[in-house]
Symmetry: C2
Subunit: 333 residues, 2 copies
């Protein structure tokens, strides 16, 4: 196993430590248990936003802590749900007295642990709501999920709900806009190669030299089917078509198109995928008004990508455009 790591058991600790050193102006890193909060602490009177999940998907979630997005993030071990004992102090750190929204990707462990933590925080007087992200159209139920998995749409939920919280929306309103993003976003991914979890030391699954997995999960969970070495345009169509059809977006509507890299794919290839996805949306009469291309929710060094479409309206567009200042997403600030 060739990786830029020291001890496989210390990957998350050391990575988060480096992250804290690099972005000390924006975030505070807490250890034992590990969580990340805004450098300035909770914003009094603002709804707090907390997300978390297994590590290995960086920059998700720690990279999105900062003004206009999250108040705290809880990284679990690699591909492993964070535990309530870390989610609780993160929620407390995010609490500005107006309640806290947990943004949770739909994996059984994540859902359970955030729920437990939310109940404990409620018992201490923090009102906690949950926005559950389940944008992956590839499969119903999966290795770690009942129902659909939460994948790249999570980044958009965090950005847009974060902007709503930042402008002073109430707990009800932030929860509602988060759920509105969930209702209007769909994703699907593919993998060219597997990835290797450091403490496992071997690839999480196998793909032959001439196989590509369509509908892959962000932990390498099986997708819909495997295809051969098809051209990027055909592969893009395998992703975009189910996304668009499930979302039911069509002529005259506006969209944000997000092509996400799984960690090991060159940016130039993501733009080749973006090109075809944009053409296919144009063919359907959908106007792409906003774009995002890059490694925003990854699976370690996996080669592959996902395509996400968010149906935009004026409010979602305005919240997307609102200033954001985090280690991994920044504009207008």
């Amino acid at each position: 196993m060739k990786k830029l790591i020291n001890d496989p058991q210390k990957v998350v600790d050391e990575s988060v430590e480096g992250f804290g050193l690099a972005h000390a102006d924006l975030v505070a890193v807490h250890t034992d248990p590990i969580f990340i909060s805004r450098a300035g602490g909770a914003v009094q009177g603002k709804v707090g936003l907390v997300s978390g999940g297994g590590s290995g998907h960086e920059p998700l979630h720690g990279g999105y802590v900062g003004r206009g997005m999250l108040d705290a993030a809880v990284p679990g071990a690699v591909f492993t749900s964070p535990t309530p004992d870390a989610i609780i102090p993160a929620t407390q750190a995010a609490d500005g007295g107006a309640g806290v929204v947990h943004i949770v990707k739909n994996y059984t462990g994540d859902v359970l642990n955030f729920e437990t933590a939310g109940e404990m925080c409620a018992a201490e007087g923090i009102e906690v709501r949950t926005v559950l992200v389940n944008d992956d159209v590839a499969v119903e139920d999966s290795l770690y999920t009942a129902g659909r998995r939460g994948v790249a749409g999570t980044v958009l939920v965090e950005k847009i709900a974060g902007a709503a919280a930042e402008r002073g929306d109430s707990l009800d309103a932030v929860e509602a806009v988060g759920n509105r993003v969930v209702a209007n976003v769909r994703s699907m991914g593919l993998a060219l190669t597997p990835c290797t979890v450091p403490h496992a030391g071997k690839p999480s699954f196998e793909l032959a030299e001439d196989e590509i997995e369509i509908g892959i999960g962000i932990h390498g969970e099986p997708g819909r089917h495997r295809v051969g070495l098809e051209p990027a345009d055909a592969l893009t169509e395998h992703l975009l078509t189910p996304v668009v059809e499930d979302l039911g977006i069509g002529s005259g509507e506006k969209a944000l198109l997000f092509v996400n890299g799984m960690g090991g794919t060159p940016l130039s290839e993501l733009y080749i995928v973006y090109r075809r996805a944009a053409q296919l949306l144009a063919d359907r009469g959908v106007t792409v008004e906003r774009s995002l291309v890059g490694n925003y929710i990854t699976s370690l060094e996996m080669q592959g990508c996902s395509v996400t479409v968010l149906r935009l309206d004026d409010e979602l567009t305005e919240l997307w455009d609102a200033p954001v200042h985090t280690p991994a997403l920044r504009w207008g600030a």
Copy 2:
């Protein structure tokens, strides 16, 4: 060869087309010959900045076209210098009447082609200066270079010279600040894996499962030596020590620390490298005042990283902090 491409001969054209679609608010993409310019055209009275080089290093250079950075970028074929016939119209597109600075990485082909293009533009009345970037301390002379190679320091030259041009500095002053960055920046990289140029169809070099190449070039050119599977902390020291010693930076000085991913390495691993590099600089009494961590100058899907240190003074810090709005680097705007 597993890649998200269609025709290996059309990788650059299709990728740049997708790039143009995704960032139409910021850039204009020109074809035949291919170059990228600011969407709004040249800024009258401002010194123009142009860079370019072989493709495969994305987001360099096209991702840095926009306010506060480049006016135009010229992508060659993958790992192949752009030709004068593309550099000339890019220079013309960047010309706002105050002269143009070419930022050129020190590779023989790049130097020759930018020089030829510069002479042709001068004959047409555009005053052209060249800032030559040669920050790689790994080796003197190399596969494609006489003298040192230009690598990750290029991103910092483009940002800082771009900010100087944007605030209205003269051609002499922009050239001077660019050269001042070159004088104060050093880099060195390593590779865990090779990469595959699409039209070649096979890896550009070979590395055994237990070998890491220290001092790798961004096209896979040989470095200083190979080591075994050492921990990230030891590998980081192999990079940082020569960088710091060549730069001669020491106690009481300020620095920007830049850990760059080669394209296929997880962000979490880059932060593990950052952590150790920051510790080593602190041990030497150097204060890290600014940081940059991510994939900013890549080698397709190569796994590996580079470490760059820029000696900061008040002016360079101010220019680094100045607003920038490009597809790949954005703040304050």
